[in-house]
Symmetry: D2
Subunit: 178 residues, 4 copies
């Protein structure tokens, strides 16, 4: 089990990465970090503040590529640890089925989910975290929001590329969409 | 939130219980207790040994009624605590959707799931437990099995009423059906 | 397989029905009728206009009890045929898992889903219909709305008891929540 | 919407395809074709007989790549039409969530799902088909099996690469695993 925190460009030369991005969909995972109460109810959603794929400084969920020979679970854990810190203790669900499949396209109108760099097919999971989170690497901040706040105007306007919609799909999945 | 461990007959007189059982489906929850590794992979399934609804001494999952005015989550937690002990620390999933709906009928051929006492519609969940389990109340024993053991002949033959099939559905749901 | 369209009070005397409703949760099914395109995308949501459980004339989904000895699928089909007419050709999903579990309580604050008559645990499904729908029995009207219209203010304000939220959960489940 | 039936190698040169396969996971879809009765119960599973990725002549489900700029739904429909013929009328589910995620690796022990050519992450769906199926292109035959037959020894021994396990996961998902 290799869950090392390689940087995302280590695994392909820039030229090869360009070729891949221009020709095939990339496998991604998205993780929506949440806090749950003792009965499993989602009470808060965590969002990173970071430079998004579209160049804006935005609120975002945890997101990243699945590497060659890596299990989806390992990728999910690796990106959660990379973005939330080593003490977050993410609880990747036992069920491997994502709550939704997010299709990011260079064309913003193709699906409503946008990534100017490539076409990515992302498996999206709700991941309860129990430990202390501190944003690492490129993230500027991590903030927890109640479900009401997470779908409110202020947070929605701080998100781009369809990430606000992804939050609503995640809250619906756990029965907490206001 | 009331998760008191009332005995199952406290809430209706025997006559009224008979009338209910003869006329309407009863809402149930089934919980398949599991141990997971740090990546969320199910590595063991817990099964109780107890007197089943059909009178046999059988391997079983956690199961029980949802009471009037009780949330499904609360019922799930209450039955897990009742059967696995107060230190089991069950992690009820954030997603309220069961992995399957089990329909128990007095007629064993109606669905393959059997309960001579009534027609029950049971919401079935896989519940990771992290703490120490000790069977309480009516259970004689709690044993952990690997996925291979859990679907093997010996364990299957110790189960009745379709519970062996429920175990296979649960393992399939978490991607661990051998 | 009995999917006769008995009226809902035929199966219990009024006294017994009162006793049941006051003491145990009732098993329900909710069906959100949808139109899909050739690729399976939901393009419209159907809503009935009828007298709701709370006495208002409201937009609603198909909803009703599961009877004693009835399979969940049979109940779903029976209520769809009863409310949408015999030529609707509902396509009950192959997967028996509901997209969400709706808990209706006499206390409107218990879960946000409200039914003054009883505590119901309802298995909710999205059901594509292909044929001609015409509302039957108690429904005054059936109207199809795009996802955008279905979550818009006008439709939301014509719904009570949490049914507007159920529509949003259904649209999220099929990836079409705006 | 482009659901043209390009051959699978048209979109990359052989050299580029080799580079991609050696370096990144490929996005795939798997479709398990089924026949359902009027209540949505799965009564038969369809399996192709064809040359599998490992070179054996095996029973298989419908499987294939998602192309650049193609929606997952479109890929699913394209591969179903390609393998089952133009009159199969596959009904791609409204819910975009796969019933499981199949991870094929060049190492047969990595996940139990094997593909000597590459690492593929495949979204797997159960797809009811209503029309006439006739295997096209590389398939030699299409045969329908009951759930009991589909998990029986004879069919299992005619499958490789984990496809027999995929069939069991699909049948569990629809509640029909024997």
């Amino acid at each position: 089990m290799d869950i090392a925190t390689q940087t995302s460009t280590a695994w392909l030369s820039d030229d090869d990465l360009e070729m891949v991005r221009a020709n095939v969909p990339i496998v991604y995972v998205d993780a929506v970090p949440v806090r749950v109460d003792s009965l499993g109810n989602v009470i808060e959603v965590g969002m990173l503040l970071r430079v998004a794929a579209d160049g804006t400084i935005s609120r975002m969920v945890v997101t990243g590529r699945v590497m060659f020979n890596e299990r989806v679970r390992e990728a999910l854990m690796r990106h959660c640890e990379k973005d939330l810190g080593p003490l977050a203790f993410p609880r990747v669900p036992a069920n491997p089925t994502p709550f939704t499949v997010v299709e990011y396209f260079p064309d913003p109108d193709r699906s409503g989910f946008y990534d100017p760099r490539h076409h990515a097919v992302s498996l999206a999971y709700v991941v309860p975290v129990e430990g202390e989170c501190e944003p690492t690497q490129e993230a500027l901040d991590l903030t927890w929001f109640t479900p009401e706040e997470a779908v409110g105007r202020e947070v929605r306007e701080s998100m781009t590329s369809g990430h606000d919609r992804l939050i609503r799909l995640a809250l619906a999945h756990v029965g907490k969409l206001p």
